[in-house]
């Protein structure tokens, strides 16, 4: 059937800010959907609160609303846009839940909006535990024994009958929030309690555990005509028990016989047919490794992280096809854009192996609970492709950028055998390295299999790697051994370390025998049909099918996996760079390894290389393509870190020179530069010993800011108020990085200001100055920032511009740069210069309408800034206000303190846009999950430094009609100041928690004394607020802003919602 002609305008709901469990994959899905709909001539209305995404670009949809994802906002937008249909299955769980809420609230019916694709009925059937269970029983598909409960007691009763362990799964949550495995009654009571809290409908499923079975996933598609196909199946190397988002996954399945593969495939088709899904769907299975018994674990009636992975693994764009199915097209009517000669109704076949490894935030939060279970903790993932499993695995590990180029870890090598064996029981992110070390110690595969339940096939493959390590250590390196090591994916660096040979020797053997990687195409059909996808991976094989064009080429290095401090915004920048390069008539080539993103969509760049962003792999591509140059300033710290290594190999880095990058990043050189330019900066020293640190701090005067040099996202950065604290920090941080000094800086308390500027080395354009709400001491990624600034004078702006110009000229910056200032007494002090694109580029680009990356690319390629039509200096400020607010994932990361510090913790961000500052601020709070309740009780708990100022904040809450509560000392202090305050003295932690749970306390203002200590009461209260979604502010500035927004919201009946271009044209 051709497409439904009644559908002319469609609303697409995005997934909102990046949080653990819902990341960049939905930008990829949403972007594809918008493109697919536009291709069919449909007008697209997009709503998403996440400004860092490609999908919220003005050219992605006809109407782009960067507004909070709430029923109120969507209702208002539906009212003004009157779409014919709504597409909810591409915006993750957020989109799905919202669609259901809109339906329940009668909005869809009232405005005659048709729900496109999978029906709500089907969604409910798949998502509601009970109806899902009924359906499975009806169609005879096996599911684990289970019971749906809404009280702890019912759950315990079931578990007593079924036996422990049991798994608890809350209804309607993503990434398994609030779920977990319980081994005994005590654990069960805890898990059910939190699970019920997290479930939208207060239900959890308690089910029999099949931990240890193989975990297999199928990505299935169906059209309204009942044609069903499998896109890809995947096997989790980690068996059932670890969330699939936290598992190492391989595609296609490796250990399933044809019988087993098709038994599960048949089941998946049966399920998708019975649910009548129109679009994509993911079915997860547990398969008993000792029989052909299986159970259906879960069905996701929407595109998901797994479908993004499957799309990249198989070369089949699931989200795009799902969008076309949603508007009525059938699979056999849709073109296969890879082969261009066949149709979308087929099943891709792979002639390579794909390995995905999650990227966890534990390198950043080394104090977090690293245990992996049914609740997802990874922030992102990497994917690698090769013709052998060993190499795909090693490439994926290298792609993680954990400073690991191999499967060897020093601290494990120092362990005794017994200790190591006991470590095999720890199910955490390091387990794979433990297994490798165990194999090196000749601990038998049987024993490892017994402990880990990982299939022997995988363990044997791991052993192939350790055996090759041994060969490299013991035998002379020759052609055969080098070829073998390369085929297994060993990096040159690792071969050097293991053989003790120099790079020159390896290179000599390589050149003599021509041992170089070739590139093969991902073509969905294993070579059966001629294909045109410019999507390549490297491998050591005979034939190179990489077609090198004669055009002039530019390579963009991507930003790798999404992690805290380096998120989706760098993918935004990379994609825009690619587009700009294409527009200028060059061939654009991207190298990246993140399967979730738009940049790794095969039709984004002219050519995509799916490779680790490791110097050797990147250089191999450069060697092959011989581009005009490589651009590294858009891929965050990942790509910037490659600049000097590429230059050493004779590669032309386009834009700001490597020398200038170094001058900005090297502490000493940078200090000298600012001195020459007569620009103020906080006093600071780089120190290498404890005594030096103490001396330095005394010279500067406390408080001081301490941090290791060369870091992303302010890792381990801290404000230190006294010597004792400094010593404690040094003892802990010294272990983090020995080769780099520790930096100690003057802590200047003032307004933080940030600019992104485009420079051609002579002139500078600052599209906008952003002001942070929280004063210095809170990482810029975690602070709320405002554009245009509300508290910065014109002379201050002039100084900021002049400093930016001076620095850009001195460094001869070509392209983009980011400078962070602190303003105190009218003087801007430079805190940091990043010679690359920053987190705020997408925001400023969208709000001002200035195509920043496009301009940067033009400048990099030689155009003059002044010719580009946007002027120079500070661009004229807009007439509306944009407020960026951070979003955190503390619910998933136990033991991570939610208090704001110089160390970045947020995983994503939202943008609030409105005509007035107050409303923009309010929208930012709402979109980031901070509700505005009716005036209730506000609990204050302040550290000594903040008591004086906190007093004024408390006063504000009282005058807004709130009752202020205080912990004993805080209450005492506030009373002394004459405020009406109730003390919670004498109440224990549980009693306070109860007040929070019952919503008696609706806001908490808590500035921590020490922080990071999970045993302290403040920490526990903060964590509890996170799990309840109760606003909890650890900076007085945030609390003040919240209060201000609250007052503004109360003045109006409803907020108004508009597209950015509407705001701009007001």
């Amino acid at each position: 059937m051709p497409k439904n002609k009644d559908i002319k305008k469609v609303m697409v709901i995005g997934s909102g800010p990046i949080i653990i469990g819902q990341a960049a994959e939905f930008d990829y899905a949403g972007t594809q959907a918008c493109k697919a709909l536009k291709e069919e001539g449909i007008s697209v209305v997009l709503v998403n609160s996440n400004p860092a995404t490609i999908m919220t670009d003005e050219n992605m949809a006809d109407r782009v609303y960067i507004e909070p994802l709430t029923v109120e906002a969507l209702e208002s937008i539906i009212d003004s846009e009157r779409p014919d249909g709504i597409l909810p299955t591409l915006g993750g769980q957020t989109g799905l839940n919202l669609a259901m809420e809109l339906d329940e609230a009668g909005v869809l019916k009232r405005f005659g909006v048709k729900l496109l694709g999978t029906s709500l009925e089907a969604i409910k059937k798949a998502e509601d535990r009970e109806s899902f269970r009924d359906l499975m029983n009806e169609i005879n598909e096996p599911i684990p024994r289970s019971e749906i409960v809404s009280t702890v007691e019912d759950g315990v009763a079931f578990a007593n009958e079924a036996g422990y362990p049991v798994i608890v799964r809350p209804a309607y949550t993503l990434g398994g929030t609030g779920g977990g495995i319980a081994r005994n009654e005590e654990e069960l009571r805890n898990v059910i309690h939190t699970g019920i809290m997290f479930s939208r409908i207060g239900q959890v499923l308690v089910e029999q555990s099949v931990a240890g079975w193989k975990e297999i996933e199928y990505e299935v598609m169906r059209d309204a005509n009942d044609t069903c196909i499998i896109i890809c199946n995947m096997e989790n190397i980690d068996p059932v028990g670890i969330h699939t988002g936290d598992s190492i996954v391989v595609a296609p399945s490796q250990t399933l016989t044809d019988n087993e593969y098709h038994m599960l495939r048949k089941s998946a088709l049966k399920i998708i047919k019975s649910l009548k899904i129109e679009g994509g769907c993911n079915v997860q299975y547990a398969l008993n490794p000792e029989s052909e018994e299986y159970i259906v674990i879960e069905v996701n009636p929407r595109v998901s992280r797994s479908s993004a992975l499957a799309s990249k693994a198989a070369g089949y764009p699931i989200a795009k096809i799902a969008a076309k199915i949603a508007i009525g097209l059938h699979l056999h009517e849709i073109e296969n854009s890879v082969t261009k000669s066949t149709k979308a109704a087929f099943e891709p076949v792979l002639d390579y192996v794909v390995v995905k490894i999650p990227k966890w935030p534990f390198d950043k939060f080394d104090y977090a609970d690293r245990k992996l279970g049914t609740q997802m903790k990874a922030t992102g993932e990497v994917m690698a492709i090769d013709r052998s499993f060993e190499s795909a695995l090693l490439k994926a590990v290298i792609s993680l950028e954990g400073n690991v180029v191999s499967m060897r870890k020093e601290y494990l090598q120092r362990m005794s055998d017994d200790q190591l064996i006991s470590f095999l029981d720890n199910v955490d992110d390091e387990r794979i390295f433990v297994i490798f070390e165990a194999l090196r110690r000749n601990i038998s595969i049987e024993e490892i299999q017994r402990k880990t339940k990982i299939d022997k096939w995988f363990l044997k493959k791991f052993e192939n790697i350790t055996a090759t390590e041994k060969e490299l250590m013991e035998n002379p390196l020759d052609r055969e051994l080098l070829t073998k090591a390369e085929r297994f994916g060993f990096s040159d660096r690792e071969i050097e370390l293991l053989t003790g040979e120099s790079h020159a020797v390896i290179d000599a053997i390589r050149r003599a025998h021509r041992i170089y990687p070739v590139y093969k195409m991902v073509d969905t059909c294993a070579g059966e049909f001629e294909s045109y996808t410019p999507y390549y991976y490297s491998t050591y094989e005979t034939e190179d099918e990489n077609q090198i064009s004669k055009r002039e080429k530019i390579i963009v290095v991507g930003s790798g996996p999404i992690r805290i401090g380096q998120g989706i915004e760098f993918d935004y920048c990379s994609v825009h760079a690619v587009w700009a390069i294409q527009k200028l008539g060059y061939e654009s080539i991207i190298i990246n390894n993140n399967p979730e993103t738009v940049s790794t969509d095969f039709d984004t760049a002219d050519k995509l290389y799916f490779e680790p962003l490791f110097i050797e792999d990147v250089y191999n591509v450069v060697r092959k393509e011989t581009p005009k140059g490589v651009i590294v300033q858009f891929g965050g710290q990942t790509s910037i870190n490659l600049a000097s290594k590429l230059m050493e190999r004779g590669v032309q880095i386009l834009g700001t020179s490597v020398n200038s990058i170094d001058a900005a990043e090297d502490r000493k050189r940078f200090d000298r530069l600012l001195e020459e330019l007569e620009i103020c900066r906080p006093k600071g020293f780089g120190i290498v010993s404890i005594q030096e640190a103490v001396d330095a701090a005394n010279v500067i005067g406390y408080p001081v800011l301490v941090r290791p040099s060369y870091v992303i996202g302010g890792r381990a950065m801290q404000v230190v108020y006294e010597e004792e604290e400094l010593l404690k920090y040094l003892n802990e941080a010294a272990a983090i990085s020995l080769e780099h000094p520790i930096l100690i800086d003057e802590y200047i308390e003032g307004i933080e200001v940030e600019v992104d500027a485009i420079s051609d080395g002579k002139n500078v354009l600052i599209p906008g100055v952003m002001e942070h709400i929280e004063r210095t001491g809170v990482h810029s990624g975690d602070s709320i920032s405002v554009y245009p600034p509300q508290n910065i004078s014109d002379p201050e702006k002039e100084m900021i511009l002049s400093y930016t110009e001076k620095i850009s000229r001195a460094l001869n910056v070509k392209g983009i740069l980011n400078i962070q200032f602190v303003l105190k007494n009218g003087i801007p002090y430079v805190i940091e210069v990043n010679p690359r694109a920053s987190r705020t580029v997408p925001i400023i680009s969208k709000v001002t309408g200035i195509p920043m990356i496009d301009m940067a690319v033009r400048v990099i390629l030689g155009e003059n800034l002044s010719d580009l039509g946007w002027g120079i200096g500070i661009y004229q400020e807009i007439d509306f206000v944009a407020v960026k607010a951070p979003v955190f994932s503390f619910q998933k990361l136990l033991n991570v303190d939610s208090a704001l510090t110089p160390e970045m913790k947020s995983t994503g961000e939202v943008l609030g846009v409105d005509r007035s500052y107050g409303h923009a601020l309010a929208k930012a709070f709402i979109a980031s999950g901070n509700k505005f309740e009716k005036p209730g009780k506000v609990l204050f708990s302040l550290n000594d430094r903040d008591k004086e100022e906190g007093c004024r904040v408390a006063e504000g809450f009282i005058s807004a009609g709130c009752t202020v509560l205080g912990t004993s000392k805080t209450a005492e202090f506030l009373k002394e100041k004459g405020l009406k305050v109730e003390s919670v003295e004498g109440k224990n932690l549980d009693e306070i928690k109860a007040m929070l749970k019952s919503k008696e306390i609706s806001v908490i203002v808590n500035t921590p004394t020490i922080g990071k200590d999970p045993l302290r009461q403040g920490f526990q209260i903060r964590s509890y607020c996170q799990s309840l979604g109760t606003p909890c502010f650890t900076s007085l500035d945030t609390a003040t802003a919240y209060l201000e927004a609250w007052k503004e919201v109360n003045k109006v009946q409803k907020l108004e919602y508009k597209t950015i271009s509407d705001y701009r044209s007001i």
Partner: protein
């Protein structure tokens, strides 16, 4: 041991021999299935062929005692990127290498199978030789010209007729190289099955008084089997008939249609076929090098390939005769098109009622 694949166009691939190490020639074809190597090796339709697996890791789950499609391997040789030396599956009885050694089949590993596949795709199916000593061009030509697969059906058919009991309809199966799962499929539908050798005459078959005739899959060029085509012509006059794969091609030839060789065949588990009546696409398992190129006047097309629009299914306009090019019995591959068997049984039942 080092070994070579020498193709008739002169191209050479170097790899390592496994299984039974010997010089062997055959027609080189590729299969895109990611699983199912055991079923495929024992599928008689592959008789005389050297099969290249496009998926690089083969043998991961070993060989078990249940998933055979006939009494042993029928392929000439198997070519893989990497064979698994440490298979893992609870049903696994031996590894691929041991199985090939035991059954006298040659293997070749370490080949850039993607490169090889693309050559076959671009230049068409060709003959090849696996050898430990590289042959000169003229030696190779002589050796490859000896290759003859024109009597393949007679090599793989059952030597004698046999019966599998059942309570339902009685199906007479012409065994041109039948896969076990076809018989299993009929058994599942409660049919009684009598299997006849390819050499059986139509008189012998009708003597058993079957309700319907099944013409099986099998190896080779359908036009090589003139006698069989004659037999088929009579059988379809007398009884409801269904043909699969070679059986389908034989029906078309018997009714005045024509067949031709495909450039590189359809071999894999992911072939989309559209059922024209239902207007729906099914993913099918396929294995054929020849195709019906001219449809007989008395037949209409019921199924087409979504990949190349070739004929995938036919039906007689006024007789209970139907045929499909693909394999509804799966093994290896998907069983989405299992309904073909059901339709045939339905036809048998309808005809039975009319009679």
């Amino acid at each position: 041991m080092r070994a070579y694949l020498q193709l008739e166009n002169g191209m050479i691939f170097e790899g390592k021999a496994f299984g039974k190490v010997q010089d062997i020639s055959g027609e080189v074809v590729f299969n895109t299935g990611m699983t199912g190597y055991q079923e495929l090796m024992t599928d008689p339709s592959y008789y005389g062929q050297i099969v290249v697996m496009t998926y690089p890791l083969i043998g991961n789950y070993g060989i078990n005692l249940e998933d055979f499609e006939s009494d042993g391997p029928k392929i000439r040789a198997l070519i893989v990127r990497e064979k698994s030396n440490s298979p893992s599956n609870f049903r696994c009885e031996m590894d691929l290498d041991s199985y090939l050694k035991y059954s006298g089949v040659t293997g070749l590993e370490g080949i850039d199978t993607r490169a090889l596949t693309k050559i076959i795709r671009d230049r068409g199916t060709m003959r090849g030789l696996i050898t430990g000593r590289m042959l000169t061009d003229s030696e190779l030509r002589n050796r490859l010209s000896e290759y003859d697969n024109s009597r393949a059906v007679y090599e793989v058919t059952t030597p004698e007729a046999y019966t599998v009991e059942g309570n339902g309809k009685h199906v007479a199966v012409m065994d041109f190289g039948i896969k076990n799962n076809i018989i299993r499929s009929f058994k599942e539908k409660n049919c009684k099955v009598t299997v006849f050798p390819a050499t059986a005459s139509w008189e012998e078959v009708l003597e058993a008084d079957p309700d319907g005739i099944f013409l099986s899959n099998g190896p080779g060029d359908p036009q090589d089997y003139k006698d069989i085509i004659e037999n088929v012509r009579v059988l379809i006059e007398k009884k409801p008939t269904i043909g699969i794969c070679l059986g389908h091609q034989l029906i078309a030839l018997a009714l005045g249609g024509n067949t031709e060789k495909l450039k590189f065949g359809h071999r894999g588990c992911n072939h989309p076929v559209k059922d024209l009546k239902m207007d729906r696409v099914f993913i099918t398992s396929q294995n054929h090098g020849y195709v019906v190129s001219e449809v007989p006047d008395c037949m209409e097309i019921t199924h087409v390939s979504m990949n190349d629009d070739s004929v995938e299914g036919l039906r007689h306009v006024n007789k209970p005769v139907m045929s499909v090019q693909f394999h509804p019995e799966a093994s290896p591959g998907p069983s989405d098109s299992d309904y073909i068997f059901e339709s045939f049984i339905e036809i048998l039942e309808e005809v039975g009622q009319d009679a």
